[in-house]
Amino acid sequence: MIADFGFGVLVITFLAALYSIGAALYGHFMKRQKWVESARLAMLLTFPLLTLASLTLIYLLVTGDFNIKFVYEVTSRDMPTYLKVTALWGGQSGSLLFWSWLMAAFATAVTLRKWERDREFLPWVIVVASLTIAFFLGLNIFFENPFARLWQTFNDIEAYTFRPANAVPFTAQDGRGLNPLLRHPGMIIHPPMLYLGFVSYVIPFAFAIAALITGRTDDRWIRLTRRWSLVAWLFLSLGLVLGGRWAYDVLGWGGYWGWDPVEIAAFMPWLTGTAFLHSVMIQEKRGMLKHWNMILVILTYALVLFGTFLTRSGVLSSVHAFAQSEIGPSFFIFIGATFVASIALLIYRWDSLKAEGQMHSMFSREALFLLNNLLFMGILVICFWGVISPLITELLTGQKVTVGPPYYERAAGPLFALLVFLMGIAPLSAWGHTAVKNITTQSGMELEKRYILAIARLMWKPAIPAVLVLVGLLAAGITNIYALIGLTFVALTASITFYEFWRAARARSRAQGENLFLALWRLAGRNRRRYGGYTIHLGVILMAIGIIGIEMFQTETQKSLAVGESIQLAGYTVRYDSLAQFPASDGRLVTRASVSIFKDGKFITELHPRYDVYSDGQPMTIPGVRSTLADDLYVLLVNWEGVTSQIAPFKVYHNPLVNWLWLGSFVFIFGTLIAAWPEPEREVVPAQTRKTKAVYQPGD
């Protein structure tokens, strides 16, 4: 009964979404604002309806109604309540419903208030958002109904929405329970963050499409969705970082990123989203790159769908392949159709998207931003091709191949290094621009020389610490050329970014008579986007230190130890003390080792690596980790090699600097919050006026 109610709500929501598409189109073409308003209200209705549907499913999950197939598949009686709630996104049909719910929430947030200001965009924003909601709801209704019930037929138990002939309801005694890998506190926030990132990118896309259709191709759509893009980017970044941390804690690989196709699927929209965040600034300041920004936002939307498609369609096998079904073709058609339609629109409006400004130098800020975009696109190509090419070569050769970490690391590594370098020098080019006062009197080469000199003049002081770091690394005996290049770039970029903070704060401090910290605070408050951006750069630098540390200097060893025996790694000694086995309250059988950690002969701490075996026989390996800013000692009880009370195999990883990765992510989030923090609304300056001002002035 409750399940039927839930399904009924889904169907009504689907119809409301379809109605809002139809009413918006009718209202627009017949020029009847009342119909557009009706479409808006219908779309607003999807959020409370989907809230009701989701709460109904959560109720069924928490109460353990094992007549519902989804509840049977993802929960069991012994699971704690918080995991029963989070099981909503622990399986295919529930996570599709969750996607629609979040999408409806964002669509509501956009159209609930302040929509009158840009009335012309409204019908098309409604069409795009409702179409996306309707598509996901359609998947739920026609392929993956989370409310489908189990029925006992003549010779089998099957799931159907409605009762088949001669069937009786079947209720299992207990559910299969959530995949053990997903029974982790990280599971509460990692998927929602990722999904929030995915759905919030639909909003800039919807406005871009509205701009293309209405022909209002100035930068109004970008200004309206600037904060949405930042918020989407923040959520996606958080989702990726949390996923990395979850993998580090749960997967027992000693690492945070395995270049798994599903990880890459979430990373690809982040790449285009990051490129977009940078290139929109050029459109806002200089009226350039209009075509490119449209392409980036269209690509991001397609990649968001593609990411969900990869995770949900079962087209690729990976550690995330717990969700496989037959929704692949629908996804494929929807992605293809929306992509082709968007590109067709872009081509239709191509001429009205001509650049207003011109590029004066290859070393101007806008030129360096273009280079930044090229690097992001390069990494995107590597990732996309790495995921897709095994499918293509399988078609050609009939043989499966694996495209694993070495491919990605070798190809994308140098591009990442260049991005870090560019992150350092690009902000300087904005200041370099001010050096070019009298543009009409110089030839091309003279101009380039002036740009380069302007950057070099600002760069030489912060370059000194970077050189010192390089000398220090060489003196410390580090000979890995990639690490040397990477860490020198990181030091240079960090030094330039701090220098930029200091220069600006000092200038304000002198002018206003404020102390340095107050000056910095007020400066950041007045120009949140720039200083938020610099803070994000600092976060990325810290993360880069962590990544270089673990990627270049990770060491590992494995050995079976009798009680009292030990192994050594990177100056640490790990001694096996004892083993205990006990049942946990939720039915797990826990096998836990106690090991003592010594550094240079001195006892430091005790760790408890363990493995849990769930009631359905699924194991999970939890490392014992000792973390400091210098390194992590990551000890695994290698259950897969066979553990007895006498002899236990241990695998020990030494992960230098890895905590800088997590630390950096906090700084990164802080920076994004600064950049996205609402500023008092200012009057919108017409593009033409800005453009004429911008030609001789530095980019912001």
């Binding site: 990976s318 550690v319 011109q358 390069g378 190509v381 694996t402 694993g404 897969w640």
Partner: protein, 164 residues
């Protein structure tokens, strides 16, 4: 004669190396680290996208034992890898072999990246050309100007060009 001597010396060296390695293995069985060093570069043939050194399945444990056995028999790393490829196909390698159609996997990203660099270079060039043309026309306007209003006209023209 010279060639024969080289072949003889080479054969002797190979034999000595083999004897040495067998002797070493008699006393020192392969360590877990030696097994993992090879297993790390192979992917589980059953559970895709999982490196063999950290795969917890029973099948993978047997494959690691097989690597240990082969190492004890004196097989080299490349021989063991080839053995797995022969048995389970190229998918066990962490990267596709560089042969036949698989070259596409390596070459397409490079080609696309180069195409991107080319497009960017062209874009820079065309934007520079616009600026140069603009500059030349301003210079011409300057030279042609004599009256007191010409500076004003020059500015107007410059603004108009930027707006077009």
């Amino acid at each position: 004669m010279k060639k024969n001597t080289i072949v003889l010396i080479f054969s002797l060296l190979v034999t000595l190396a083999q004897v040495g390695s067998v002797a070493a293995q008699d006393t020192n069985p392969p360590t877990d680290d030696e097994v993992n060093a090879i297993a790390k570069e192979l992917f589980c043939p059953v559970c895709e996208n999982t490196p063999l050194d950290v795969c917890p399945t029973e099948a993978c444990k047997q494959w690691r034992d097989l690597i240990r056995l082969k190492l004890a028999e004196g097989w080299t790393e490349s021989q063991i890898k080839q053995y797995f490829v022969d048995q389970y196909g190229a998918r066990v390698l962490s990267e596709p072999p560089r042969q036949g159609w698989y070259w596409l996997i390596y070459l397409i990203p490079v080609a696309l990246l180069l195409a991107g660099v080319y497009i960017l270079a062209r874009a820079y060039q065309s934007m520079r050309a616009t600026v140069t043309a603009e500059r030349v026309s301003i210079e011409e306007a300057k030279q042609a100007s004599t009256g007191p209003d010409n500076e004003y006209l020059r500015r107007v023209e410059e603004e108009l060009k930027k707006r077009s």
